[in-house]
């Protein structure tokens, strides 16, 4: 067992976990933040993406112990309240960017990370760039088109730089 301490969605979180606990297991099973999903066991689908110290990472491919001291943001940490969604969440809602919704938390966490990186670097987030950036996120429903549209819309309403 290892004692881990981190900040999740702005709140201190701490627990004794077995050393082979994945970050996603800690998030879902210990913290009961079930917005972060698990869609595969090969690190390929991206349903589990969260931000660790401001970078998108697959929480299924990381040990909880390796996130010791980190700042973690899950999809639950994006919106200020239920009625005050993050611009990227609103964009997915308004552009029909989801159907079953299983991939959506990972898509939104990947999207907010890519927009932040492109804005900070002063680079234009073109449609091609969005598709390239979505390489690690699989959606079985939408055909991606509306996800790309959602991200374009969300990006235009986000200011991170």
């Amino acid at each position: 067992m290892t004692k881990i301490t981190m900040t999740v969605n702005g709140k201190a979180a701490s627990a004794d976990v077995s050393d082979n606990t994945l970050l996603v297991e800690y998030i879902r099973e210990h913290l009961r933040l079930t917005g972060t999903h698990v869609g595969c066991d090969t690190s390929q689908c991206g349903a589990c993406v969260v931000h660790v110290n401001g970078q998108a990472m697959k929480s299924c491919t990381m040990l909880a112990a390796a996130a010791e001291g980190a700042e973690v943001t899950t999809v639950e940490g994006l919106a200020a309240s239920k009625d005050d969604l993050h611009p990227m969440q609103l964009a997915f809602k308004e552009n029909h960017g989801l159907q079953c919704g299983f991939c959506t938390p990972g898509m939104i966490m990947t999207a907010t990370d890519m927009v932040k990186r492109y804005q900070e670097a002063g680079k234009e987030l073109t449609e091609d760039a969005i598709r390239h950036e979505l390489e690690g996120n699989i959606c079985r429903c939408t055909g991606y088109h509306n996800i790309v549209k959602s991200i374009q819309d969300g990006a235009s309403k986000m200011t991170t730089a």
Binding site: N20, S43, Q44, Q55, A56, M57, L63, A66, E133
Partner: protein
Amino acid sequence: MYTTKYHKASDAANAASLLGASPEAKILAGGQTLIPTMKQRLAAPTDLIDISGIAELRGVTIEARKKLGVLKAKGGETITIGAATTHYEVANNADLAAACPAITGLAANIGDPAVRHRGTIGGSIANNDPAADYPAALLALGATIHTTSRDISADDFFTGMFSTALNDGEVIKSVSFQAPAAAGYGKFPVPASRYAMVGVFVAKSIDGDVRVSVTGAGDDGVFRHAGLESALTSDWSPASAAGVNVGAEGLLSDIHGNAAYRANLIGVMAKRAVESA
């Protein structure tokens, strides 16, 4: 996942001693290969030695070339990349992009953003996946791999599919190479995994030596291609690369493509690699 004991190493020497202390211990860097393998129960290390936070293993340094002899237009700097440097950090290093754009471009196309945020160059070469990108780059650039006990040339380091010259208890600290006069990488990714179906890295040193390496295609991992090297030594041009008759002998046949298909792709990727150089 089987049970394991997690250790956070304080520096490279500490990582090596923790690694040497137990026969079934493994280094954990970005975990982008090791964790999925452990989840599938294909690996069961008793101990994991986490090196991801070690400052002395991270970062890129570029040392200006010594002004001996005739000044060449480009290349010659000594580039050193720490083993725990992530693909993202390599891809976004502006000085490195100026000195050797082929390697920053290669890093920018490994896997996906989340993999690049965690995966490291040391983990990639220690694993020596037969379809990984970095082994091709380091072999063609004639890199040196610096470990906690010695320096190993890339020619000696990559010893076959998933195998390297690393001994038990040996930890990679960094890799270094001389910035090439010209270099390029052509990669045809497998659409599902993004690993290379075929990747060809071409490099011309400031002394005019040409080295060409191929990943994804060999049935025993990354290898140098003598035919492409001699063609590009006499004429460094896309047409010269495309004119080489690449045989299918020793190439991989699998669900994604047979040896003849890969042989053809080697020619096409070599041509694109020279075009991009």
